[in-house]
């Protein structure tokens, strides 16, 4: 095979791999985790001064900020107070506030309403309570449930909460974004869940290595062998059409 073609293929593939690593390093993300509730519909309307609590949220990763999914109908939304409670004891461990004025709508991506609550370590379960600290109502968005027993969202203050008939989507964020590249070990551990028992994070490291190294080498080999086969049949000297 002409050297230029081999160099182009292997050099190009190396550049692609380097560019992919650079892209992973530049792709910085704040997401710590979400509670896995889909933002399908409004599950509760929070009037001024009213409070709703999403109960028993497992803390998968440490976080500093909380973004409850809301719908203000495109109008400026009210300020929200967000409290983090230890699920077992009900003790308030962190409190934060999201400034008013944000505009959100279901199914229209936009800047979320975010409250900085301070560092919460991973492990255990929390309740996340949202209080409308403004003068306009706001809708909380999540997924409706058929039975009240399936609802983790309660409306009202103190211990007299009533089920809201759904669950609120909550997104937990880090204080500062981190590169996706440094998240890869965690990402591959997550990817290995709900897989056959033999699959682990190592499987994805192996696949990444195979893609980065073996695939370009196999393609280069295929090209070399194809070129050689044609040469052996005397095709490489022919510049016109096929016989």
């Amino acid at each position: 095979m002409p050297r230029g073609a081999r160099a182009l293929l292997l050099g190009g593939a190396t550049l692609v791999v380097v560019a992919a690593i650079a892209a992973l390093a530049l792709d910085r993300r704040s997401l710590a985790f979400s509670n896995g509730v889909a933002p399908n519909q409004a599950v509760a309307t929070l009037g001024p001064g009213q409070r709703a609590c999403q109960r028993r949220v497992p803390v998968i990763e440490g976080f500093e900020r909380v973004a409850p999914t809301t719908d203000t109908g495109g109008r400026p939304g009210p300020a929200l107070e967000v409290a983090i409670l230890d699920h077992g004891s009900g003790r308030v461990v962190r409190v934060g506030r999201a400034a008013g004025g944000y505009r959100t709508r279901i199914n229209y991506p936009g800047a979320p309403t975010t409250a900085t609550v301070g560092r919460v370590r991973h492990g255990g379960a929390i309740d996340v309570c949202v209080r409308n600290a403004g003068s306009q109502p706001v809708q909380l968005v999540g997924t409706a449930v058929r039975r009240s027993s399936q609802s983790g969202l309660g409306l009202g203050g103190g211990g007299r909460q009533r089920p809201a008939g759904g669950n609120l989507e909550l997104t937990f964020l880090r204080a500062r974004p981190v590169p996706l590249l440094t998240e890869l070990p965690v990402a591959f551990r997550r990817a290995a869940l709900f897989h056959p028992p033999v699959v682990g994070a190592w499987t994805f490291w192996l696949l990444a290595a195979l893609i980065a190294v073996a695939v370009p080498l196999l393609l280069a080999r295929a090209l070399r062998l194809a070129w050689r086969a044609d040469r052996d049949e005397g095709r490489e000297t022919v510049t016109e059409s096929y016989p």
Binding site: G36, T69, T171, R189, F194, L219, T237
Partner: protein, 477 residues
């Protein structure tokens, strides 16, 4: 072994690695309609009958086992919801394993009703049921991934068939076969859908087989074996998805063109016609029994006020700016052709919510345009000689599929004002795309072709790598 050259083995190795990454990296259910296809395979493997579109007493869409998996892995919530992630907790995985272990045997057999895929013919699902049965002693997710990997093997079939098809046309020129087959094996849309549980994976393979065998018949001339093979491959395609009815005009054309000289000579005996005729008869019976015909009828009928003029107007608007006198088709995308042929067919992952950067689609579109123009030039200049019959066969297959899909979508616009067509429905035409690449390369002097093929392979490799990176970012970070 001369028929299976080492260059092809190397390409298949690369395709398999990339496909395995897709199969294992994408979370369960995060490919189009995968949950209902899994439900179809499960009822076929467990109870021996197709899933049904209608209700069945004691049956739900999903089995108790699949519903448990859905709930504990949270696989449904992220569908169409980019902010939502699948379950990330190892404890949830452990809980699912524990609960799955104690499910009764009947928990696998109470699904398969009111299944939106229930109208599909059963052959692809029967193929997948083999992997399901082999791993029947494992948990649902092991079976799920086994089925994905099993489905991926069909992409290998498409790669080999494309290699052979181009070989028939070029007299076995490896430097034409390689880029054509590489396009089929490494086009990211094709890899993603082939590494999922979806009959479109079977369609890509079956159409590649039909296209190869049709070309073979036209190039080599008729033989009983060749005719039987083409008919058998067509039957396989029909039993995978009703869209394969689009192949029938092309197959009929290939048969007519190849058999015409024999018929003119009068040398065709009744005895030699017996086997193909029997296969055609069996095909008709199989298609009727499988329900593929019903599916096609449903797809092409209805839309009471559909008219040829309305259809032509819709076609125009799908690809070109509206003319002042045309009634706009409601909800038809402004750049429909670009959206479907480029964005959706090349890089539209998950449940179509995962996209490449906009500039990447522009680059792909430019590349496709260069290939199309280059292929036309090569054919016109006889740099890449293809018999007229072969061109007619391939052109008919492509045109009927595209027009058939457009007709179905036109009707859907009339009835529901919704788009129907997705790029993956066009992926059975990938082998023709591969042939176009080989033809376009023929414009270059032979010493330059290795460089051009290298550039193509690097581009396909880059698309694979960055598409997989997008998947990681979407679901796991």
């Amino acid at each position: 072994m001369d028929d299976v050259p080492t260059a092809l083995w190397s390409l298949l190795g690369a395709v398999l690695i990339a496909g395995l990454a897709w199969a294992l990296l994408v979370p369960p259910a995060e490919t189009p309609d995968e949950p209902v296809h899994v439900a179809y395979v499960q009822i076929l493997a467990e109870a021996g009958h197709k899933a049904s579109r209608g209700p069945r007493a004691g049956h739900d869409v999903f089995s108790t086992e699949q519903k448990l998996a859905r709930r504990l892995s949270n696989y449904e919530a992220p569908i169409y919801r980019p902010s939502v992630r699948p379950e990330w907790r190892a404890s949830a995985f452990a809980r699912w394993r524990e609960r799955q272990r104690h499910l009764p045997a009947g928990a696998r057999r109470d699904g398969g009703a009111t299944n939106s895929a229930g109208g599909n013919p059963p052959l692809y699902y029967a193929w997948e049921a083999l992997a399901y049965r082999i791993t029947a002693w494992t948990g649902l997710f092991t079976r799920w991934y086994a089925m994905r990997v099993w489905s991926l093997l069909l992409l290998g079939v498409a790669v080999v068939a494309t290699w052979l098809m181009v070989g028939e046309i070029t007299g076995g020129e490896r430097m034409a076969q390689l880029p054509a087959a590489a396009l089929v094996g490494l086009q990211p849309g094709g890899t993603a859908i082939s590494a999922a549980i979806n009959p479109d994976a079977g369609m890509i393979a079956a159409w590649a087989l039909v296209l190869w065998l049709g070309v073979r018949l036209l190039v080599r001339g008729p033989s009983v074996g060749g005719v039987l093979a083409l008919l058998a491959a067509t039957l396989v395609a029909l039993l995978i998805k009703a869209t394969s009815f689009g192949l029938l005009p092309a197959v009929a054309l290939a048969l007519a063109l190849s058999l015409w000289p024999v018929l003119r000579r009068g040398s065709l005996s009744v005895r030699r016609l017996a086997a193909p005729a029997a296969l055609v008869g069996a095909a008709v019976v199989a298609v009727v029994v499988s329900g593929a015909g019903d599916r096609l009828t449903r797809a092409l009928s209805g839309g009471g006020h559909a008219t040829p003029r309305g259809f032509l107007s819709y076609l125009w608007q799908a690809y070109l700016p509206n003319l002042p006198f045309q009634t706009p088709v409601r909800n038809l995308a402004a750049f429909w052709g670009y959206d479907v042929w480029i964005k959706s067919a090349w890089g539209n992952f998950g449940w179509a919510e995962l996209l490449l950067p906009a500039w990447a689609y522009v680059a792909i579109a430019v590349g496709c345009a260069i290939v199309v123009v280059g292929a036309v030039l090569a054919l016109a200049r006889r740099r890449f000689p293809v018999e007229a019959g072969v061109l007619a066969f391939l052109g008919t297959a492509a045109a009927v599929l595209v027009l058939g899909l457009h007709w179905a979508e036109y009707r859907q616009f009339l009835d529901l004002h919704l788009s129907l067509l997705q790029g993956r429905y066009l992926l059975p035409l990938l082998p023709i795309g591969g042939l176009a690449v080989a033809a376009a390369l023929a414009n270059l002097p032979r010493p330059r072709r290795p460089l051009a093929i290298s550039a193509l392979l690097v581009a396909l490799f880059a698309l694979q790598v960055f598409s997989l990176g997008i998947v990681i970012g979407r679901f796991y970070a």
